[in-house]
Amino acid sequence: MNPLKGTYLSRRLSSFYLSVSARHSRCNSTSATPPADGHLPSVASSEILRTKREAGLRTPGIKWADEDSSAPTRIIVGGRETRKMNTYQAIRDAMSIALAKDESTVVFGEDVAFGGVFRCTMGLAEEFGKERVFNTPLTEQGIAGFGIGLALMGHTAIAEIQFADYILPAFDQIVNEAAKIRYRSGGGYNAGGLTIRTPTMSVGHGALYHSQSPEGFFMGASGLKVVIPRSPIQAKGLLLSSIRDPNPVIFMEPKILYRSAVEQVPIDDYELPLGEAEVLIPGSDLTLLTWGTPVYHCETALHLLQSPPPELQPVIPASLRSANIELIDLRSILPWDVKTVAESVSRTGRLVIVHEAGMTAGVGAEISAEIQKRCFLKLNAPVRRVTGWDLPVGLQYEKFNIPDAIRILDAVVETLAY
């Protein structure tokens, strides 16, 4: 057998070049000149990211989960600290807290012992021991099944699937087993202690199997929760909530944000609520709904709408440039926050949904149908979806496949002008 054809080796090679390129992008984020990657500057300079201590401590919905949580919030905020972290460091920090506070917690997956191919588990094996942070053989169905077994005994299992693209061998264990155990056993058993972390979404050159956004496949698996953070603060708070939630959770981490998104992350133990969307920019003329990496493409699109560069001015009607767009980060795919989205669309009368996965039967389809039902009389334009095309992700074609800022801008303009 030609070893180069083996999945193992090709996967390792891919993760190597991913990490090399990610290092490259980190350099870019501190440099003044914009990098070749058009979408990265928006992450580097995003106003959504909380880069000041005070802003980090005032993250909406933050719930301190340590001994001091009974004291008045105002005083606590004054006394708390933050540290500059990127997303992988925030995720590592969350797992470190989970391991320290709950003796039954274990972290496992392919290559997690040396720190993980994305460094999310750096130093955890040294700190908590090989019995609690360990490698598994290369078997995704096994990793999920093993985690379910731990959860059946009431333990906390944090499993890693190296790329969301490789979660499908575990689909049976996740959908037929983890999601259904509580129901089928009449509440006697459950897999609530299981959290499956997995890197997701495009990375610039991940092609077919290092780019996927499979959240839609899990959206119909009642009994499961699906969560996708947009930033380091969100990643830490939502991951700690996911780990402690009494249900199995799939936690999808946008891998391009591992190094590029940096915030002042509270160092204490805190949680952010599952099942709740967050309004990032309030507005009154159109609701722009998204999650994960495209949050930053949306932000860029809104800047372009407001002050288009000269070459775009002919296609952006001046009358639309002052439109107030409401930007919402959905955060939880299952259960999703219908209340926040429907309330927003009822006010704005227009909805554009952005996600990286393909359009057909994607998460956007579910949301469109439900919002159409609830907001029928309030809608002033058809619900618009800006998504990846219904295609596999071809390597050299990524820029024309993902829903980037220009495609979002175009959909926003057309929906406003409808």
Binding site: P137, I148, L152, G154, G186, G188, P246, K339
Partner: protein, 442 residues
């Protein structure tokens, strides 16, 4: 044990596995593999023309084999084993026929595997965690799960403690009896058992006390989850005892179409786990082998495999007519020539522990117990209709489930009494759906 025997008898095997032999040879760097110059392929762990032997203690007429070391059991214990072995076909006969009459929707018998199931159940501690496939009802019975519990689950009535009437019949479960709820997807329990066992290792009060015991058929062993589970339980040392019930068939597929190797046992050494093949129709051999397997499992903190050879005498399930793919005479021959229950009865008779009167009394008593439980289960209502919507999530119930419950309530109010299929069905539930329609007033 097998390993030492094989090492002695087969040079090919010893080349690969014997440490003393390899120490005198050149090894491939970073391996235990000795270097040879002779081109030599192999496809059997036992070496050429040397299949894995089967461990047996008593023959087809209950006579101890020469050299057999029988387990130390007394009359009472033997009777307990026998009564449980007889209880299985008693329940199977009644429930199989009840399904044929349409009173329950589905059933699966364990005919022919009574010794495998009861022998292994007896070898486990009652708080060992069991993860089964679906033909292991006897393990629950051995642990004190009552005939009423069995009936309640297969009828899906309001007393069903396994799953509130949600799962198909024979999908039992009971945390109290350390028996994880059965699910239909095959082999999914195999990697789960590795996780359960790893958790046991990490619990100070159960470490070195308990194992996970995981049952599956030889057909399920073809699933990817078998491979995953065995690999996990050997590389991440976990005290899990895998019990393969090799009964010759996966529905219609004979084992000859399931694998080309030497059964399931030959795979154990490939994963580096201690393995034994046992005569699954000999309850004393199963008991002894599983006891020793359990001991090794605890001692090594690592997986052990027992392959129990038997024959599926019954149809696969009530949805299957096995005479479509095998001769009736073949089945009748098996029942007559190698019957696990008869074999053990003859052994007990030879010990003076059993006689025809005891047999008559036992059969009558078991039949009466089963019929009594059956009549009770048949008279009970289903659980409350509202249980359709509960237990999907722990913690707060998501909006979609809340809303969909309310939608059904609206439909029931509108159509519950005028749409005949629903009106008739509502009558079968405890409180006839009032728990949904009128949650405060019931």
């Amino acid at each position: 044990m097998i390993r030492t025997e094989l090492t002695r008898s087969t040079p090919a095997f010893s080349r690969a596995f014997s440490r003393s032999y390899t120490s005198r040879r050149d090894l491939l760097p970073t391996t235990q593999s000795p270097i040879i110059t002779k081109l030599d392929f192999f496809n059997s762990v036992g070496g050429k023309d040397n299949p894995i032997p089967t461990y047996r203690l008593i023959d087809g007429v209950g006579k101890p084999l020469q050299g057999a070391q029988l387990p130390d059991i007394d009359k009472d214990y033997a009777r307990k084993l026998y009564e449980h072995m007889q209880l299985l076909p008693t329940l199977d006969n009644v429930l199989y026929n009840v399904q044929r009459q349409g009173k329950i929707s589905f059933y699966m018998t364990a005919y022919g595997e009574e010794a495998t199931i009861i022998g292994s159940a007896a070898a486990l501690e009652k708080d060992d965690e069991v993860l089964g496939q679906y033909r292991e009802m006897g393990v629950l019975l051995w642990r004190g799960f009552t005939i009423d519990n069995i009936m309640a689950q297969v009828f899906g009535n309001e007393n069903d403690t396994s799953g509130k009437g949600r799962q198909m019949p024979v999908h039992f479960g009971s945390p109290e009896h350390h028996f994880h709820t059965i699910s239909s997807p095959l082999a999914t329990q195999i990697p789960q058992a590795a996780g359960v066992a790893y958790a046991l290792r990490r619990m100070p009060n159960r470490r070195s006390q308990n194992i996970a015991a995981c049952y599956f058929g030889e057909g399920a062993a073809s699933e990817g989850d078998f491979h995953a589970g065995f690999m996990l339980a050997s590389t991440i040392p976990s005290p899990v005892l895998y019990i393969a019930r090799n009964n010759g068939f996966a529905i219609s597929t004979p084992s000859s179409e399931q694998y080309n190797g030497d059964g399931i046992a030959s795979r154990g050494p490939g994963y580096g786990i201690d393995t034994i093949r046992v005569d699954g129709n000999d309850v004393l051999a199963v008991l002894t082998a599983v006891r020793e397997a359990r001991r090794r499992c605890l001692e090594q903190g690592r997986a052990v495999l027992v392959e129990s050879m038997s024959y599926r005498v019954g149809h696969h399930s009530t949805s299957d007519d096995s005479f479509a793919y095998r001769a009736r005479s073949e089945v009748e021959d098996k029942k007559r020539i190698d019957n696990p229950i008869t074999r053990f009865r003859l052994f007990m008779e030879s010990q003076g522990w059993w006689d025809a009167d005891a047999e008559t009394e036992l059969k009558a008593r078991l039949k009466a117990d089963v019929m009594k439980a059956f009549k009770k289960a048949d008279s009970l209502k289903r659980p409350e209709l509202g249980q359709l919507f509960t237990d999907v999530y722990g913690g707060e119930e998501p909006w979609n489930i809340k809303e969909q419950r309310q939608e059904l309530v609206g439909l029931l109010k509108k159509y519950g009494q005028i749409w005949e299929p629903w009106r008739k069905e509502l009558g079968k539930f405890r409180n006839t759906g009032q728990d949904l329609l009128n949650p405060q007033g019931r």
